[in-house]
Symmetry: C2
Subunit: 198 residues, 2 copies
DNA sequence: TAATAAACCGAGTGAGTACTCGGTCAGTCA
DNA sequence: TGACTGACCGAGTACTCACTCGGTTTATTA
């Protein structure tokens, strides 16, 4: 059990860093310090290993987000959104390996032919869309957020933060010191009215 | 020249659809209808072929965008931003293959070790950042856009539209009918003040 | 037309690749 | 103690990959 977990952890790091195709089973075995054939004693093939990894990623991310959201006591829906956006950026550092894996192409390619994989990935995106939508609805009820199409707006927000995170993770640009600017932009996008101070 | 171009076109489609690693030189040759060894007569290896493809993608995208922007006569900076966002979504369909290729991991992996590749990719992103920043500055001058940090805000906008396009292209979600919502969100993010109509 | 060069091909080649198989060894329980 | 089970290994194996090489066809130009 524990050994199996260590395979999952090691393989996840390698898949995230180098990609699925560019990580050979020999690489994984070497990194663990075991024989290549031992991998196939625990997982029937490389693809099953990836699926177990994705399952763990999904569980870890959901658990982490829920524990953070549970602690927070936001005053209204708009503040909830700010909290979620901030949490997402926090996660992209704290769970960097998991995020990097989710920005790889292979999981989505596999999702096209493997329903199990598809479900895992969908559940991750649906989870984030769900908490954003919840905050939007709450904000509309308490008046902190204007009337918007909740589904569409949730997607726009998720796309924005994943897009920014992708830039950061792939080294296209750096997000250092940009978090407040981004949260500000979100608030302006959503708030009922906004008057410029200057 | 022309034959070389047809190799580039065919290989681009395959790399975009299946990824660099998952497209063998045999696949490319078969798709063109020539011998595998002929590829290596025109390109010294598979990597050089990818670089030539990326160069063409960069040229094509810049040319296409510039021709569109040249035609448009926006009334102010904010309208320019809306035009750029709309154009980006138009491109993600008109240049679907090129966009798909730019959402693959391999070009960015290669960029880490190959300066030529890095330059091409950077120039694409810098190009988009440049036209967005230009619109922001114009908007601040004509009063249609509030005072913002131009660099940061340009990145936020580019991240949002690439993030949305990525969702659409990878089949995570569909953008059908969302364009106006997104352009609206951008305008609210940028405009000097906004009063909700309801 | 003859000479030169470029385009193109078929048949390799060696270096990986995921995965298999037969067997060893340690721990568990009757 | 002895039979059984599961973790683990080394040595394969069949296959795919990018790339090479010797030679032939085609185009160009003197």
């Amino acid at each position: 059990m524990s050994y199996k977990d260590s395979i999952i952890g090691t393989a996840m790091a390698l898949f995230a860093e180098n990609g699925f195709k560019d990580t050979s089973t020999a690489d994984i075995a070497k990194s663990i310090g075991s024989a290549e054939s031992t991998l196939f004693h625990h997982f029937k093939n490389k693809e099953e290993l990836l699926l177990k990894i994705l399952e763990r990623v999904q569980r870890d991310i959901v658990r982490e987000v829920e524990s953070h959201l549970h602690d927070a006591e936001p005053e209204n829906g708009l503040a909830m959104i700010s909290g979620i956006v901030g949490l997402f950026f926090h996660l992209s550092e704290a769970k960097r390996v998991e995020f990097l894996l989710l920005f790889r192409n292979y999981p989505y390619q596999l999702a096209n032919v493997n329903p199990t994989c598809r479900k895992i990935i969908e559940s991750i995106y649906d989870f984030f869309l769900g908490i954003i939508a919840e905050a939007l609805i709450k904000g509309q009820q308490d008046g902190s957020i204007r009337e918007v199409n909740v589904q569409k707006q949730a997607m726009v927000i998720l796309a924005m933060i994943t897009g920014l995170t992708r830039f950061d993770i792939f080294g296209i640009m750096t997000l250092a010191g940009y978090h407040q600017e981004i949260i500000d932009s979100c608030q302006r996008m959503l708030c009922r009215e906004y008057i410029c101070e200057d």
